[in-house]
Structure formats: structure tokens, C-alpha cells
């Protein structure tokens, strides 16, 4: 009797809807949860020798995986949210790859970033300057580990000194110039710069300027650690670098290399840092004007050894280590992955998804690249469930179920009448 079957299928479909609603309401606060939508479609009885007749309804569930949830701020740097399309690539404890929007990542006991559902975040390791994710591939992705990052030091290689030398200075006789390394040191002005060697050791460089005549100067760089104890001159070894400087009498700027010995005037001055690299000191902004000596800026790269004291993750998914010496180093690039039909991904436990036949192939790329969203650090994506919508649907589902049960009741009454005909 099709009246009973049809109404039963209606009741079944509506109870499926109700179960989806209860799933949505239950996950109203699950990070990265996507609303499950219920679709109904009619079933038709198509026996070959009869005209087609209604045979009930079926309900299918679709997870609306491409909806964007609201982003809420947290105070944990490693909490991540995706703004736009794309999923995090994660791995479970046994090494299977999944996708998720649940970015509740925090370090586990060994420092690997893992989310609340137990999935490990995967990224390409760029420490030591290795390459970035190759597009469309999961190969080379590793668990992101934020513990035990080694201390970092970098040697100084470039420096820039912007100073003014007084044009009013009186010349120092050639026999007394700082390059002669005599005691007491005779000079017009002096400044110091701190450079770092290969191992991050600090070396104070004493930079002496001595006027040698109108518009011409001699610059000598000494390693302060070779000074006689107490910081006194002479130094135990000669200058690291000696350079003649001539200035334009009209503009006060450093002149091009007219009549100046090698290395040419104005070009970077090469200073071998003891135990380190050759420091290229740019003096091109230094002037000679009729005012007192003054340093306007002295910058030098390189860092003393620093320990890891923080993380930063930018919108393109670059995770960098922040060191106590103020330097930072890129460590991982967190990729995003997507499929052509996100709604057809297979949902698995913990807000994760698996690629299915109907979802299409996996595409991996950098956050912010074409078609993929960007990353927000210290943020989480809220559930897309709207309680008001779900409650409304619930009322609707209840009425619909009730209507189907009335139809069933009527069918049942009709059968009763039939049965009573005989009696």
C-alpha cells in the first residue's frame, strides 16, 4: 500500500532533517564547523507497465563547506583562521592527510602544532633557506615544530654611516695621522660602530677621522679590542682599513674618485671584521660642512646570538621565529589546499575532510595566491550555524513530520475500513 510507504518515507526524511538540525545546533560553537544543509527530492515509482506514481521522498545531507564563518580574535599566536577559500593541510597521528578549517593549533608536548581535534598542521620547512611548497603537491610537507629552534646569530656584512665632518678642522701633519698608530692617537673626530662576527661576537670598531688638508680626510678603522688595556692607544695591530676621503668644496658631499687611490673614493669601504665577514661600509651620505662633528645615523646589520622568544605568522602563511636580539627568521610556509567542489568533501571526525571522488582533485598553494584565502594569526573561524535559522527549520520540520503522520493515520484508517468490510 503506497500511501503508507510514502508517508513513512516522508517521516523518515523529516527525522533526517531534524537530526541535521540537532547536529547544527550542537555544533553552533565548534570552531570551523560548516552548517549541514538538508535537501529533499521526490521518489517516483516507475514500473514499466503502470503509469508513474509518487513513491515518497528522500533527504540528502550536504555540508556547506565553502561558507565563510566569522573570525573571532584569540590571544594565542598559533591559532589560525582562513579568510576566503581553502583548508589547512593536516595529518592525523597515523600519518593520513586531511583538510580542515579548525585552526585551534597549539604546540603539543614535542612542540608540534596540533589542533583541538588532534590533527597536526603541515607546512613546508624553509629553515636554512630551503625552497617553498611546490604547487599542487603534498610532498615535502612536514609537521610544524616550534620547539628547540636553535639560537640565531648573523654576521655583519653591510653598514651605513651618515655623519658630518667639520670643514673648519685644522689639518693633522702626515706623521701624526691615525694610520701611523702612535701614542697618543691624533685625530680630528672619532666614532665607534659595533659589528658582529660569524659567531655573533660583538666587535667594537673605532673609526678615526683625521683632517689632512682642505676638504681631504683620512679615515682609519681599528679593532677596539686590540687597544692597550684601558682602551688606550696605540693598538697592538694596524688599522683594519684606511681610506682617503675628499669632499666637494661647493656641495660638501663626498667627491667622486678624482686623484684618490684605491679603493675609489665614495665606494663602500671594505673592513674585514675579525673572525667575521668583510663589512662593506657605505659613507656616500657623509658630508663635510662648517658645523661640528655629528653622527646622523649609523646602521649596521648582523646580530648577537639571540634565543627564540616568539612566533609570528603573516597573512601569506609564513611562520617566522622571533629572537631575543630583535631578529626574525622564516621557518615554515603554511600552505592552503582546496578542491573544485568543497561541498562534496567527505566529512570525518573532528571537523576534518577527506578528498572524495566527487570533490575533485586536491590543489595546494600559498595562502593569498590565486583562488586561495589568507591566514589570520591569533584568530579562529566561528561555526557558520545560525541558531535562529535552525530553530525556524525545526518548527518547520516538526509540522512536516506531523503532516506525514496524519497521512499515515488516514491510510491506516482506510485499511481498517477495508478490514471491517468482511465482518
Amino acid at each position: 500500500m503506497s500511501i503508507l510507504d510514502t508517508s513513512v518515507s516522508g517521516m523518515l526524511a523529516n527525522s533526517n532533517w531534524l537530526s541535521n538540525i540537532s547536529q547544527n545546533v550542537a555544533n553552533a560553537n565548534s570552531t570551523g564547523y560548516k552548517t549541514a544543509d538538508t535537501q529533499f527530492s521526490a521518489l517516483v515509482d516507475q514500473s514499466p507497465d503502470q503509469p508513474s506514481a509518487g513513491a515518497g521522498v528522500t533527504a540528502t545531507t550536504t555540508s556547506l563547506n565553502s561558507l565563510q564563518g566569522q573570525i573571532a580574535s584569540t590571544s594565542t599566536t598559533t591559532n589560525l583562521a582562513v579568510q576566503g577559500a581553502g583548508f589547512f593541510v593536516v595529518e592525523d597521528a597515523s600519518g593520513n592527510t586531511f583538510l580542515t578549517r579548525n585552526g585551534t593549533f597549539v604546540p603539543d608536548q614535542s612542540g608540534n602544532l596540533v589542533n583541538a581535534a588532534g590533527y597536526y598542521l603541515m607546512a613546508s620547512d624553509v629553515q636554512g633557506g630551503s625552497s617553498n611548497t611546490s604547487v599542487n603537491s603534498l610532498s615535502g610537507l612536514q609537521k610544524v615544530n616550534v620547539e628547540g629552534a636553535a639560537d640565531s646569530a648573523s654576521p655583519s656584512t653591510t653598514a651605513n654611516l651618515v655623519a658630518n665632518l667639520p670643514s673648519t678642522a685644522t689639518a693633522i701633519p702626515a706623521a701624526n695621522l691615525p694610520s701611523t698608530n702612535t701614542n697618543p692617537m691624533t685625530y680630528t673626530d672619532e666614532t665607534t660602530m659595533v659589528a658582529y662576527d660569524d659567531l655573533g661576537g660583538a666587535h667594537t670598531l673605532d673609526v678615526f677621522f683625521a683632517n689632512t688638508g682642505p676638504n681631504s680626510w683620512e679615515m682609519d678603522v681599528y679593532d677596539a679590542s686590540t687597544a692597550t688595556p684601558g682602551g688606550a692607544t696605540p693598538f697592538s695591530s694596524g688599522p683594519l682599513a684606511t681610506q682617503e676621503l675628499t669632499f666637494d668644496p661647493t656641495t660638501g658631499a663626498l667627491s667622486p674618485s678624482t686623484g684618490v687611490t684605491t679603493p675609489p673614493n665614495g665606494s663602500p669601504i671594505l673592513i674585514p671584521v675579525p673572525g667575521g665577514q668583510t663589512l662593506s661600509l657605505d659613507l656616500s651620505q657623509t658630508t663635510q660642512l662648517a658645523t661640528a662633528f655629528g653622527v646622523n645615523s649609523a646602521t649596521i646589520n648582523g646580530n648577537a646570538p639571540g634565543s627564540l622568544n616568539g612566533l609570528a605568522i603573516n597573512a601569506s602563511g609564513v611562520l617566522s621565529f622571533q629572537y631575543s636580539n630583535g631578529s626574525s627568521q622564516n621557518a615554515y610556509v603554511i600552505p592552503l589546499a582546496n578542491v573544485p567542489s568543497p561541498d562534496n568533501l567527505t566529512s570525518v571526525l573532528g571537523g576534518a575532510y577527506q578528498v572524495s571522488n566527487t570533490s575533485g582533485p586536491l590543489q595546494v598553494g600559498n595562502a593569498g595566491a590565486a583562488g586561495l584565502g589568507t591566514l589570520d594569526s591569533s584568530s579562529l573561524e566561528n561555526s557558520t550555524v545560525d541558531l535562529a535559522t535552525e530553530l525556524t527549520s525545526m518548527v518547520e520540520a516538526q509540522s512536516s513530520y506531523e503532516a506525514n503522520s496524519k497521512v499515515f493515520q488516514t491510510g491506516s484508517d482506510i485499511l481498517d475500513i477495508l478490514n471491517n468490510l468482511k465482518a
Binding site: A72, G230, G326, L387, T389
Partner: protein, 499 residues
């Protein structure tokens, strides 16, 4: 936009008003903290309709801060000089109201006043040469004069030693401040990098810089990574990533002619006349100037007066021979002759009345009028060759010697030739002039500091009215958000009841 999203937006509103209230609370609490800069919570809207506190910044004005620091340095250097000069000026304790019997300005216990007293005692003695008690009055006036010179020299030495000790303290303070700065600077660099709230660290940086400029004039530059480099006003690096250490060896005693040690940074002297890069301002510069220039100059003047006295009262060969001139009334231990103007270094602390003429030391006052103080009984230096009673020739010579023009070392700053009394007078005038100038400069610079500080405070300080207005705004915002929450909740209740 759904009813659920309204909850999230309200949530962010609560978070933002919380952060703003915390900022206002901090501002109000620190309203009277010197050097505190007002903090502002910068609120931005987010793509989902809510708001976030993007950063907390502080009102800073580096130009005004530089002005406060440079005027603080100037003021500190002038006050250091003024304090030293005030000590020196006490030795001449000018009581302007008191005048000597002759009507000349009486300069208290200054050498100039004592010299005038000696001159008038000699004149009295000249009029009454046979009165021995008048002669003793001359010796006693001479004793007062040497005591005045001795105490002047002692004061100079005390001022210089004190300045030297203060320099050592100043160097210790600078080194400690530079070490503190290392920590704070690292916090700022780190915080800028990681996005942490660094406003209180920046306040500490500013406060350390102001304390530092009290000690030494500074200039600063800020690098791209937020690290601040500190240079002295003469350009010597004090801090760049790491602090440089100032070294100084204090001298326990600084006698005349001995110069104190310079303060050095990494081997580069930053005080002393010969330093190519000497600091220009700050307490250190003022103390160095006091120790190395002003006090020694006054010492040199006292020495010149002492040398002039020994020379003016020296006894010469009266027999027409070539015996050298010997010190007469005024002498110094171990004297074998009279010193030239360039050989008098430290003489003012040694000058004394010749014991041969001082009755309290067993001497004979009569030698004063007869001569031979340097060598009693010797015919060579005896002026009263006839042995006449009441001889006044020598006394007249001595009176006129005080007013006679003689030569002085011009390096003492008071000219090369003058009479002894004028020279002594000029010296007192010089000291009082310097003192006046330093006091004026110190009070002027101190008012500049006050003005600069209040300008900075107006620009970056906390205005309680503004904070109060902001507080009311935030309260309204919070109340409205809470009302919104109740309303959304009521709407949900309605829905629940409908279901």
C-alpha cells in the same frame, strides 16, 4: 549577518571597551608621573562588523624631548659650575655693606682686603716707627694676608677634589644608566618586532635619556629596527647595540699644577682642554670645566698674588754687591731666592710670614724697619745702615711696593702688568663676576628646563578632562552594547517560546 553574528560583534565591543578602559585607567593613574606619555588604544573595525584594538601607541614628541634633554644638560653643567664657584666665592665673602676705614670696598676676608689692611698698618707704622706694638700689628696683618691666601688655595683644592669625586660619581651613574638602557632598548626592539605593547618601555627609555642628559649632553638616533643609538654632544658613541664603558681614575688630591685624569670612552678622552671631542654640556662637562679651567685659573691668580707679595717685600743687596734678592716679610718654606712670575705654582698654599720677624715665633719686629729679615744680622740686607732709631726708609719702600706696577704671568687671566693691590682687587672681581655669571646662567637654564618640560608635558602628558570625557564615551558604549546583548537574548527567547 545573522542573529548569532550579533553575539560575536557585541563580544568584540566588550573586548574593545575593556582595552580602552584599561588604557584610560593607566593614563589617569600616571597623570602625575613625570615623563609619562599618554597612551591611546587604536581601534579598527574588522571585516565581520566587530572592532579590534589594533595597537596601543603613546603620544610622543621627540623634538620636544630633545629640547628638554639639551636644556637639562646645559642647566646641569651651569649648576655644577655655579656650586663650585659659590664655594670659592665664600673665601672672599664679600660683605658689600662693610667698608674699610679708607672707604674702599671691603672684600671680607679676601686677599685684596687683607692687603689693604696691611697697607694701612704699614702707613700707621711709618708714622710711628718707634712704637713696637704698631710693628706687631703690621706682622699680624701680614699673617692675616697669608692666611687668606692659604685658605683660598685650600678652597681651590677642595673644590677641585670635590669636582673630581663628583666626576667619578657622574661616570658611575652614566655607566649604570647605559646598562639599564641596554635592557630597555632590547625590550623595545623585541616588542616592535613581535607587536607587543612597548609604551612603558619607551617611557623608560625617555626617562633614562633625560637622566643621562643630566650627567652628559647627548644626541640620539633611532635605527630602522627601533634601536636607539646614543652619542655625546661632541659625537662620541655611548651606546650602539651595546653600551660603551666610561673610564675615569679619580685623583684623591689635586694640588696646584696637577691636572686631574680625563674621562675616556673606549680610549677617547671626552673631558680636558686637549680632548678633540670634549663634551659640551651636562654635569660632567661643568665639573670638568670647574676642575680643569676655572678653579686652576683662580689658583693661578692666588699664586701670582703670592709671588707678587714675595717679590714686592724682597730684600736686595744694600752694599752695592751682587748678592741675590731674598724673600723679606713674605717667604715660603725652603726659599733660596725670589721666584719669577712663572715659578709660583702652588705658592699661595705655602706663603707665610717670615718667622724672623714674627714675635710669636721668636722673631724680631724691628727687622721690619731695619731690614735683614731674610738674614738677620747680615750687613748685606740691612737697610738701616746707620742704626738710627725710628728709621722709616724701608717702611716707605714697602708701602710704595704695594702700589708699584709689577709684572704678572698673563696666563692667569688678569693681564701682564699691574700694581699688587689692583691685581688682588681684580682677582676678587673676577671671581665674583664668574660666580654671578654662573649663577645667572644656572637660573636661566633652569627656567628653560621648566619651560621645555611643561611644553613636553602639554604635548604628551595626561589631561584629566580629556580622559574623563573619553571615560564617559566608553561607559556609554559599554552600556549600549550590554543593552544590545539583552535585546538579542530577548529575541532568542521569543524564538524559543515560539518553538
Amino acid at each position: 549577518m545573522t542573529l548569532s553574528s550579533a553575539y560575536n560583534i557585541i563580544n568584540s565591543a566588550f573586548a574593545v571597551t575593556g582595552a580602552q578602559s584599561a588604557t584610560i585607567a593607566r593614563n589617569i593613574t600616571n597623570a602625575s608621573t613625570p615623563g609619562y606619555s599618554r597612551e591611546i588604544a587604536n581601534v579598527v573595525d574588522n571585516p565581520y562588523g566587530g572592532a579590534d584594538v589594533a595597537s596601543i601607541t603613546r603620544e610622543a614628541n621627540s623634538a620636544l624631548l630633545d629640547q628638554v634633554n639639551s636644556s637639562t644638560s646645559e642647566s646641569a653643567s651651569q649648576s655644577a659650575i655655579a656650586a663650585g664657584l659659590a664655594t670659592l666665592a665664600q673665601t672672599v665673602s664679600d660683605s658689600a655693606s662693610s667698608t674699610s676705614p679708607s672707604g674702599a670696598t671691603q672684600n671680607g676676608a679676601s686677599p685684596s682686603a687683607m692687603l689693604a689692611n696691611l697697607q694701612s698698618a704699614l702707613s700707621t707704622y711709618e708714622a710711628d716707627p718707634s712704637n713696637e706694638s704698631v710693628g706687631e700689628a703690621v706682622v699680624s696683618a701680614a699673617g692675616d694676608l697669608t692666611a687668606s691666601l692659604n685658605s683660598g688655595a685650600a678652597a681651590v683644592q677642595q673644590v677641585r677634589s670635590q669636582a673630581d669625586a663628583n666626576m667619578a660619581a657622574s661616570v658611575a651613574t652614566i655607566n649604570s644608566l647605559l646598562n639599564q638602557f641596554t635592557q630597555v632598548n632590547a625590550t623595545v626592539v623585541n616588542g616592535l618586532h613581535s607587536g607587543a605593547d612597548i609604551s612603558s618601555a619607551q617611557d623608560s627609555e625617555d626617562s633614562i635619556l633625560t637622566q643621562l642628559s643630566q650627567q652628559v649632553g647627548i644626541s640620539t638616533t633611532t635605527n630602522a629596527n627601533g634601536s636607539v643609538s646614543i652619542y655625546t654632544d661632541s659625537g662620541v658613541t655611548l651606546f650602539q647595540d651595546i653600551p660603551q664603558t666610561l673610564s675615569f681614575t679619580p685623583s684623591p688630591t689635586l694640588t696646584a699644577g696637577v691636572s686631574g685624569n680625563p674621562v675616556t670612552v673606549d680610549g677617547i678622552p671626552i673631558t680636558g682642554a686637549s680632548a678633540p671631542m670634549a663634551v659640551q654640556s651636562g654635569a660632567l662637562a661643568g665639573l670638568a670645566q670647574l676642575r680643569d679651567t676655572i678653579a686652576p685659573e683662580y689658583q693661578a691668580q692666588l699664586d701670582q698674588i703670592s709671588g707678587g707679595l714675595v717679590n714686592a717685600f724682597a730684600e736686595t743687596d744694600q752694599t752695592g754687591g751682587t748678592a741675590p734678592a731674598l724673600p723679606g716679610l713674605f717667604t715660603f718654606p725652603g726659599a733660596t731666592g725670589v721666584p719669577s712670575t712663572t715659578q709660583v705654582t702652588g705658592l699661595s698654599s705655602q706663603i707665610e710670614v717670615n718667622p724672623n720677624v714674627d714675635p710669636s715665633q721668636g722673631g724680631d719686629v724691628d727687622l721690619l724697619q731695619n731690614g735683614g729679615i731674610s738674614d738677620p744680622g747680615s750687613a748685606t740686607y740691612t737697610y738701616n745702615t746707620t742704626g738710627a732709631a725710628g728709621y722709616t726708609g724701608r717702611i716707605q719702600q714697602m708701602v710704595s711696593a704695594i702700589g708699584a706696577t709689577q709684572s704678572f704671568d698673563p696666563s692667569a687671566g688678569l693681564g701682564a702688568s699691574d700694581s699688587l693691590s689692583d691685581y688682588a682687587n681684580n682677582s676678587v672681581g673676577w671671581l665674583q663676576g664668574q660666580n654671578q655669571q654662573a649663577t645667572d646662567a644656572a637660573s636661566y637654564q633652569s627656567s628653560v628646563v621648566t619651560q621645555a618640560t611643561s611644553a613636553l608635558s602639554n604635548a604628551t602628558g595626561v589631561n584629566l578632562d580629556t580622559e574623563m570625557t573619553n571615560m564617559l564615551n566608553i561607559e556609554n558604549s559599554y552600556t549600549t552594547s550590554a543593552k544590545l546583548l539583552t535585546t538579542v537574548n530577548d529575541m532568542f527567547s521569543a524564538l524559543m517560546n515560539a518553538a
